[in-house]
Amino acid sequence: MTEPLLSVENLHTHFETHDRTVHAVNGVSFDIEPGEVVGIVGESGSGKSVTARSIMRLEEPGKIVDGSIRYRGEALTEATDETIRRLRGQDMSMVFQDPMTTLNPVFTVSEQIVESLKVHDNPDHQPLREYLRIPFLHDRTDWAEKRDRVVELMSEVGIPNPEERLDAYPHEFSGGMRQRAMLAIALASEPDLLIADEPTTALDVTIQAQILQILSDLRASRDMSVMLITHDIGVVSEVCDRVIVMYGGQVMETGTTEQILTQPRHPYTQALLDCMPQQTERKEQLATIEGQVPNQLGDIEGCPFASRCAYADAACTSASMPVCDCGDGQEAACCALDRVPDPTREAVGVEGSR
């Protein structure tokens, strides 16, 4: 078996607040293979974003307290700042959720793309006077030469008339356009792994579709892996090869997109799928999961979903959660899996259920 591109093992990321500790990520493990699109789904607060940021080592003010993250075998949790910077500049890129806040408002979009190109060229040589454009002291001839590349990137992500927009500021862009610009920034460093943290959440539906389309195209043309964080199962079904379902800072279930969507084993996954509008008849009320997302304060014992789980018993709140192999690579972390109805068997026939 080839080495995975990214391998996360037992990751714990904590946040210290005034008087308590928030266990945002609480023992997450998964792998991403080269060229694979992995979707991470879960409700808000389930630790998806923190996991993504931990991988980029942007977890501050949180802290990785345990576990390991390996990129092509290199341990990111122990890596030096230089290594991390080189990786960010050349191997991994990230696209954030809200395009309205992820672009620096005081620099032109092209400036921000060129920066990315510059870092990619030479991550270890970043002279301040050149980046700051200090009058008389900077030499930016090669920055100007990069303009063609910027235009190329901009058109690649679907920004129309890129030549005319070279001097535009982010506020002169619409939301969708900004997300494309953000994508261009991320692609400028020619990453092997693109982490997209809910890249379409803040956009309206038609734009969402366009962005997703661009993502799929890019993945195909550049042969890069994508880690797509979303709470939208619809998005997952469209672009992902594999899905990781997270809840309460832990991985609940993993499997191929098809497995997760058609035969979810974990009660949380099932509940999540039930809430999707597509599953609901018109006029019928949208299903919701009863209860509150746990606040993840202090040490967590047992299954974080236990309090909301229809199949939970007393043991679920204290026992450790076993990861059960459900066949064909599908895994679910549940201590009462035997009590949970199995859609695969249900599909086969009523007699299959107990």
């Binding site: 960010r88 500049g89 890129s93 809200d98 806040t101 005081v106 870092v119 990619h120 506020h171």
Partner: protein, 315 residues
Amino acid sequence: MWKYIVRRIISGLAVLLGVSVLTFSLTFFTPGDPARTILRKQMGGRSPSQAAIERFREANGLNDSIPVQYVNWVTDVMQGDLGASYHSETAVTTLIGQNLMPTVELAVAGLAVALVVAIPTGVISAVHKGGRLDYGSQVLALLGLSMPNFWLGYLLMLVFAVQLGVLPTHGFGTFGHLVLPAVTLGTGMAAVITRLLRSSMLEVLDEEYIQTARSKGLKERIVVYKHTLRNALIPVITIVGLQFGYLLNGAVIIEMVFQRPGLGSLLIDAIFARNYPVVQGLVLIVAVVFVVTNLLVDITYRYVDPRISLGGGGE
């Protein structure tokens, strides 16, 4: 943009009108006759005769009622004439012209000192939030903010001019003469800017685009000094602009401590001598400087923060 500037100028004129009415009406309540005071000063401390006083009052229009004097004054000001000092026929504009540069020099130097100190301190303080450096610079900033500057001036003078003898105690002209006053003036302002920049930096460091910058693989130095500082400076510029006007407050006292010529000394002398044309002219000029600085600050925004359009609202 032009529309905006015109609007600002009109409201600026209203401010000037208000300030001038305010200062002018103060002369209503004033004890002390300018004629006697000024003549006494001219005569080296001798009391002038009643006839001389009458002549003086007549010559300077002091026998008119205050509103009449005000209208006359405004009419003259419209024609660019701020009147003449009671002391002699020297035009107030000339006097102000003579005293403007020393004060501007002091203010600019003070501002430079403040920025040179405050920008690195504020940045370091924010970057090391909660650490010893942060704590130290916050305490220093608070001390700078709380120290009466005349006391600071004397302390600096005592140390650098008297004990060490490296700088002149007083006077005006050379670079050396500027150092102590500028440091004295700059200290309080440095404290203000440091505090403001720190909190502004902290706010910006929380912004998502800083994560974007980091995610590109930019060095922390560039993240801080390019992406963070540039944004954090925007609110600082407002305050610096406003403070530049307030620097005149400090200049009054510092000019007195260090014996520098300037608008401050001129104003104090004029107030005590009841030299009303000079007081009114100065107050007006200061208000003009203030209004203009504010306008310039607003326009500078356009260059620093591309989101703000002077046409109004922005997006």
